[in-house]
Amino acid sequence: MIFLLPAMLVLFLTTIYPMLYAGYLSFRSYDLAKPFVPRVFVGWSNYQQVLTSGDFLNALSITFQLMVITLSIQLVVGVGLALLVTQRLPGMGIARTLLLIPMMISPVIVGLVWLFLYFPELGYLNYFLSFVGLDPIPWITSPNWALWAIAIADIWQWTPFIMMGTAAALTSLSPEPYEAARIDGNTRWQVFRHVTLPQLKPVLVSLVFLRAIDAFKIYDIIFVLTKGGPGDSTEVLSLYIYRQSFTFWQMGVGAAASFVSLIIIVVLITLFFKSLNRDQTA
């Protein structure tokens, strides 16, 4: 028991205490910037403010849009790349290593890299587009494009994560069933669909799960690229919470929004796993 003490202490100081404090804050009016604003107990009113706020609901919706876009593309492209790099083809070893690089870069740097590519007037991406005769795209300055611009950066960064996990799973699959399938004469697609995919499923579920949690918390890339704009077209939950806490300095509202988000993600994850289990038993 005594050996657990340090671990418990660390857990308490790093996780439990901040959580408790945030919970406490969420019931208070607390303006960090304005000591003259009364710091008092306000009951559920912070929660009420969050839940009835169009901005919060918009942020929630944007977060999920982004999550669905990035996750689905990362999944498809990541699995595709994994299938490619696990082939015994020349150059695949190097390709595999190179493809991992984006993942190792800090999201802020990724944001900056893409900022250079997207930058209005000066961005390289539009410069390249002009070579193939395309009109410049207002990547981060149009509400129609900005979410996609962020999705592209996020996809660029995190597809390798799916790729790596999938490739590892692929190489651990025993080759014989594939040979059996080859002799039986099932097409590549059928083999992929009925042999590979079902075996990858547990791994893919974990990968998507990890990505979903990250996607729910996405912040850095957006902060660098659009800060939530134009309009509020890329205002995700973490930005909303950030703005409540550090632009409006309403720490209580920010804390309440954090808790609401936490509950939403926990509920969603539970539902997600429930539905998976139902698949399994069916």
Binding site: E176, P177, E179, A181, I183, D184, G185, T187, V195, Q199
Partner: protein
């Protein structure tokens, strides 16, 4: 027309040649076993037949048709793998269905075939289970069932019993034999277990180092081995091998002096070096002082039930004799043994080839 024909078939991995131009004919309905020590190229040969490996050189035909360039699925073969190669996430039924899928059969026919295979292999109860919920023997039967439902022209087996324990192995071996009798399909079967080979094969192909050493019925390879390799590889315990010299109608070695068996008379030049081969069962107890008997001390006896094995030392050579267990000597006893002249083999020590022909 042969079911499978190999003509000067070579397999190379890069610059390494592992199968060196082998020739083989497998007849329609025959059960042919590829037998040989580990690494001799059995699996490679089988996989070339299946189409899982390319043939580097030579010609491979199935049912009279050259198939070197034909895709596995178009060769009319089905393969049972050493570790079963079942689809782990599919039930037994789904495993079979998936194998049938490319044939585009209607649902009724698919079901009929699965029921039939399940009936033959006793899988009826297991159809809904997944491989992880089956024992090794059951998995093996599922793997066979999955091969069977496709009604192939040729079954290919790669060491199908090697993952089973000894008892189960005997049992499944029998089942494979029965299955073959019942279906009459051509079988090419890889093993390094000679008992399997002996009991199942119509024809055994003994391989070593990428070469075929001998092709023949179990009786032929046992009774008339082409060379020392086959002679010592087939049979358990192995054939005793004693280097000797032909001197004046006798075969002499240290502690040994035998008359040349009559069938070799006139065939051996005086002074020729030979290797005498005699199976443990060819050594028989004799009265002390019997003609041509060797006298030796028993080092170890092994009791097998009806028989016992004696480890004895003759000159520099350790020999094994198999004698009736009753009245067997104890270690340290001296025994007299005679060589049954009708089962003596003589080999050329240089080439290893038999001198029996």
């Amino acid at each position: 027309m042969s079911a499978i024909t190999l003509r000067s078939v070579v397999k190379r991995y890069g610059s390494v040649e592992v199968v060196h131009g082998i020739d083989l004919d497998v007849e329609e309905g025959e059960f042919v076993v590829l037998l040989g020590p580990s690494g001799c190229g059995k699996t490679t040969t089988l996989r070339m037949v299946a189409g899982l490996e390319d043939v580097s050189d030579g010609e491979l035909s199935i049912a009279g048709r050259r198939v070197n360039e034909v895709a596995p699925k178009d060769r009319g073969v089905a393969m049972v793998f050493q570790n079963y190669a079942l689809y782990p996430h599919m039930s037994v039924r789904q495993n079979m269905e998936f194998a049938l899928r490319p044939l585009g059969l209607d649902a009724a026919e698919v079901d009929r075939r699965i029921q039939e295979a399940a009936g033959i292999l006793g899988l009826g109860e297991l159809l809904a289970r997944k491989p992880a919920q089956l024992s090794g023997g059951q998995r093996q039967r599922v793997a066979m069932g999955r091969a069977m439902v496709r009604t192939p022209d040729v079954f290919l087996f790669d060491e199908p019993l090697s993952n089973l324990d000894a008892k189960l192995r005997t049992q499944v071996r029998l089942e494979i034999g029965k299955l073959h009798n019942r279906l009459g399909t051509t079988v090419l079967y890889v093993t390094h277990d000679q008992v399997e080979a002996m009991t199942l094969a119509d024809k055994i192909v003994v391989m070593q180092n990428g070469h075929i050493e001998q092709v023949g019925t179990p009786e032929q390879v046992y009774a008339h081995p082409n060379n020392m390799f086959v002679a010592s590889f087939i049979g358990s315990p192995s054939m005793n091998m004693i280097p000797a010299r032909h001197e004046g109608g006798r075969l002499r070695a240290e502690g040994l002096d035998l008359a040349v068996p009559s069938r070799f008379e006139g065939k051996l030049p005086e002074g020729q070096d030979v290797v005498i081969g005699i199976r443990p069962t060819g050594l028989q107890r004799a009265e002390p002082g019997a003609a041509d008997a060797v006298v030796a001390r028993v080092e170890v006896t092994e009791f097998l039930g009806n028989e016992a094995l004696l480890d004895i030392r003759v000159g520099d050579h350790e020999l094994i004799a198999e004698i009736p267990a009753a009245g067997r000597p104890a270690p340290g006893d001296e025994v007299s043994l005679t060589f049954d002249p009708s089962v003596i083999h003589l080999f050329d020590p240089q080439t290893g080839a038999t001198l029996s022909r």
